[in-house]
């Protein structure tokens, strides 16, 4: 049983802090009610709007590019940590990878994918 004491304490603290926060705010916090506040929260969007709102397609382009180069970073981190152990092989491989991504960046750049206007 003894090895579970730490975990139980952790569980107790976690529920205590979370539950305590909710309890304290509901006891101590000011209570003003108005129409906007009673609506369910949805990241700053109003609940009832026309669904015909249009997003600029540029947002999607930026999002796609972000994901592409974000993945690059995901691969770079473990490579940087193991840089010395991987030796020359890892160095060359990663630069080939970056070269291919560089081709992609050049393509996006020349195509005007980075221009907002």
């Amino acid at each position: 049983m003894e090895q579970y004491i730490g975990a139980s304490l952790m569980l107790l603290f976690a529920t205590g802090i979370a539950g305590g926060m909710v309890l304290m705010t509901s006891l101590l916090g000011p209570k003003k009610s108005f129409a906007d506040k009673d609506e369910p929260f949805e990241c700053g969007e109003s609940q009832i709007v026309s669904p015909h709102q249009r997003f600029s397609v540029k947002f999607y382009l930026v999002a796609v590019l972000f994901i592409l180069f974000d993945i690059e970073a995901v691969f770079l981190f473990p490579w940087a940590i193991l840089f010395k152990k991987l030796g020359m092989f890892g160095f060359i491989e990663m630069f080939l990878f970056l070269l291919i991504l560089g081709v992609g960046l050049l393509y996006v750049w020349k195509k005007g994918g980075l221009d907002w206007e």
């Binding site: 193991l82 152990k85 991987l86 030796g87 020359m88 092989f89 890892g90 291919i100 081709v103 050049l106 393509y107 020349k110 195509k111």
Partner: protein, 477 residues
Amino acid sequence: MIPAPIVDLVSLSPVIVLSLFAMGVLILDLFIGKDKTVLVFLSLLGLFLAAVSSLAKGTGPIYSFSNSYVVDTFSIFLTFVFAISSALAIMLSVSYNKEQGIKIGEYYSIILFCTVGMIVLASSADLIMIFLGIEIVSISLYILAGIRRTEKRSNEAALKYFLLGAFASGFLLYGMALVYGATGTTHLKDIASVLASSEFKTSPILLMGVVLLVVGFGFKVASVPFHMWAPDVYQGSATPVTAFMSVGPKAAVFAAFFRIFVEGIPNISDYWDTILCIVAVITMFVGNLGAIIQDNMKRLLAYSSISHAGYILVALIAKNSLGMSSLLFYMLAYAFMSFGAFAIIIILDKQNGDNLEVKDYAGLGFKHPVIAVCMSIFLLSLGGLPPFAGFVGKFYIFSAAVKEGYITLVVLGVLNSAISFYYYLRVIVYMYMKEPEGDYQVQPSLAPFSLLVIGIAVFGTIELGIFPGPVISWTMN
């Protein structure tokens, strides 16, 4: 120090060469003007070099990258088939793209990337590599299907293909996961040896995985009952893309299909034999009976391509070495005759890019006799009439199946060949025996590249039909 893995770049050389050329085409496109002709020549050069470099390792099976990539006769032969079919597709696109106003230079680089995926697919000996190849091929094809951006039909084709294709990839991947779960390995050779000596053969996980693999591959090669997307996608895409889709990627997926089922899980063939026999028979019937009622030429060829998937499945079911070599031979023969028929459709297209109905071919035999003769050669070869390539291909496939005792299957296959003559001959009858309705005149647009494709296709169709020996002995290796 982490030891560097053993990298065998020579056996990967066709993939590397083609990837470099694809990126080169992509970049060069940014710096040239509206005229994309130089990209065409660069792409053709890349395909040629890739095909040549595939010979660098000799023909013996050489495994590399921890046994997940293999160079053997099968993969080398298919690399040549892919290079030929992609080259024909690119040559067909030149005048078509000019007429349709498709000024997208990326088109050529996507075809090259798709070819990279096909080579990976034909050379992989590991489930993960196979999935990687299938995804490279599929994603390229989704883009190619929608290349006529302003055309509604093209958009429909791309979206339909993408949604259903992504779904099928899911089936395929889940099937692979279950097979991995049952056997504990993704290498096809290891899967085969695990299944040779163990009691896992009847494990429900394994059998479920195999069924999902059949569904996934069945979709990718457009076999019935997973063929629904094919006619719409084939009709909606640009015609050179349709020709490309129905040959290269299909052959590549069949290669992976063959590798998994015949090299990976032949020991449980008692279980998948019957499923594939049924799929093959209904594919042939639905393809051929569906083609009979089509009036649009492109749709007719789409259904005919479905039925050909059925014939090729027979080669897979045979499971012997003759089956393998007949599969390879049929891929090459089909590349020539299919590209030939599509090339004729392209040069006879109307100005607005609509392709012709069968009845528009009336009287073609007298107005443009050479074109009509070429078309007849391709159609008769697709039907399987000697002395053309289609006959030899079918003959080898059926003899491989007879050798293994699949008599009923072969009888149904031959019956289907007979049915297929009805719609192939119908076009020929229109060309030679009917008067054109009204005063509409077909104006063929004879671009040099398209004529070259037709010439190559005629030569290939007749050459493989009369002197199949050298190619057959190469595939037998």
